[in-house]
Assembly symmetry: C2
Homo-oligomer: 354 residues x 2
Amino acid sequence: MQLIRPTLLIDKQKCLRNIESMAKKAKENSLVFRPHFKTHQSVEVGEYFLDFGVEAITVSSVEMAEQFARAGWQDMTIAFPLNIHELPSINHLAENCSINILVENTEVFPFIKKEIKNKIGYFIKIDAGYGRTGLDFKNTDLIDSILSEGENSSMLSFKGFLIHSGNTYHANTVDEILQIHAHNLGAISHLKSRYKKQYPDMIASIGDTPSCSLANDFLGVDEIRPGNFVYYDVMQYFLGSCQLENIAVCVACPVVAIHKGRNEVVVHGGAVHLSKESIEVNGQKIFGLPVKLLSIGWKFLDEGNFVKSLSQEHGIIKLSPEEIEKINIGDFIGIIPVHSCLTANLLRDHQVFV
Amino acid sequence: MQLIRPTLLIDKQKCLRNIESMAKKAKENSLVFRPHFKTHQSVEVGEYFLDFGVEAITVSSVEMAEQFARAGWQDMTIAFPLNIHELPSINHLAENCSINILVENTEVFPFIKKEIKNKIGYFIKIDAGYGRTGLDFKNTDLIDSILSEGENSSMLSFKGFLIHSGNTYHANTVDEILQIHAHNLGAISHLKSRYKKQYPDMIASIGDTPSCSLANDFLGVDEIRPGNFVYYDVMQYFLGSCQLENIAVCVACPVVAIHKGRNEVVVHGGAVHLSKESIEVNGQKIFGLPVKLLSIGWKFLDEGNFVKSLSQEHGIIKLSPEEIEKINIGDFIGIIPVHSCLTANLLRDHQVFV
């Protein structure tokens, strides 16, 4: 493989192991495994899931649903609050696919009734307690109103409740992640005890990678929708969701300048490749972790090596005096991204499988 | 114009005024105006510059040079330190275009001599004093070595010195920006007094939007390469480079949820549309400024309205109690990006001209 420009390297074997491990956990806990494809957005990586019995997926936009419908996927939850302007596209998708949407208010129903001529499912989005989006699980008045509107919409069927704990990404310890997860199990228990009689087939769906990676108790949960775990990244490593060796992607970046006086190298690899996502580690803001690229895979460096800053096209990597001695102009250095979802989105047209 | 999904709105009239103003400043100061096209990356916006006599442009990657070569541009400086793996592409470009590259070390010359069969120009990159990339202007030993290598490369001609003051983006006051600019004028004066006799046609090229917008003294400068000014953005506004009414882009985002209890609305418009770039204003981290979209253009809201957080697809906008009362599900809210270069890069396939 000849590298020329910043390129996302995807380690297929690591992806397969990550998928296998999550599929096994789902099976052991009798959970439907409906992986989120927003992380990789790749038809090829999507196919990796077929060997593990995955038939239903999650996406985060209607455009992504259209992409994966073209690739042959026929059962998709669009895990984003309904944008009423996309109802014609959703209706079109539902001609040939089983589509679920998210609802969290009653205002959307007149629009749904007007536009949707094919059967679709809907989940009610429940706030995981961090105030991004969704309803408080105790707000049963509004939930009842939504269900009542749903009953009056002949093309809609209620699927269940969907929670996404994006707040686990701000946790400081594994315990905190497990506490958030426990809070969600409580919400599910509450919702099930209230609505299970009326909707015996209702699904409780949870989704974030930290919870799905770390939790072992899924009482009341019917479905998991993690996405990031297929690649993992620096953020997940520091959250405790994975080990460094589980991370399945890095960005190969050519070295264009070496500044030994300040132990820095400059690579072509900036915000348009990695995204501006950063994380603070021991008081130092970092934008990625540099790795040595091997003929197969890559090798992590010691702690003193990190991506110090990114501008549009430039990355500045701090290297230890020992490491910088080994670097020549034109070498490729790997950078493990802080947030692989954003990096993979930026490098959709510049990726290779290793 | 029917909006459906997150879409970059480009106000053509504001772009034209921004270009006119910068072109006028260049003319008054006898500067060559070689605008940077990395901000817009748009063939259509590129054409706006033709009316102002622009024939030569700046780009930040070889891929971008290829894009604009296809659009008919024939004189381009690739303002990024040379990646030796792209020399075959650069050589190919130089068959039909006048191409300048950046050099800041001697290690690249054997590769250049081997690959380049067409005449190209080179600039020596000078560090503006903030340690991203380039040479210290006092490091005349290394500059002399590079020039000597350049003399021995039959296809290379020395164009001059190029400085990019990315450090103006971290300035806290207009005075600080002007001090950085003054430092660069000092560096140019030093370099000219040393090399002008040997290279009477040498060009001193500077480029950042804050300096080019704010400075009035360009003593010794021959060329300016600002890029961001065509759109400007929230960051430039807080730096003092522009007024709010000069900002020529915003992202139209559909409202998908309204949470009056916490004065927040959720829009489809996240990190994959706006980028994760943020700025701290009065101790509050913001990811963009919401505006009311009008039939033509947009209107800014009061200070208490800002984008509070972004995840991959979601944006959370804090609105004042008065503003949130006016919002309905399905409305489009505009978001002025913190950093328009990154936003325009993400929305290259989702833009309309207004």
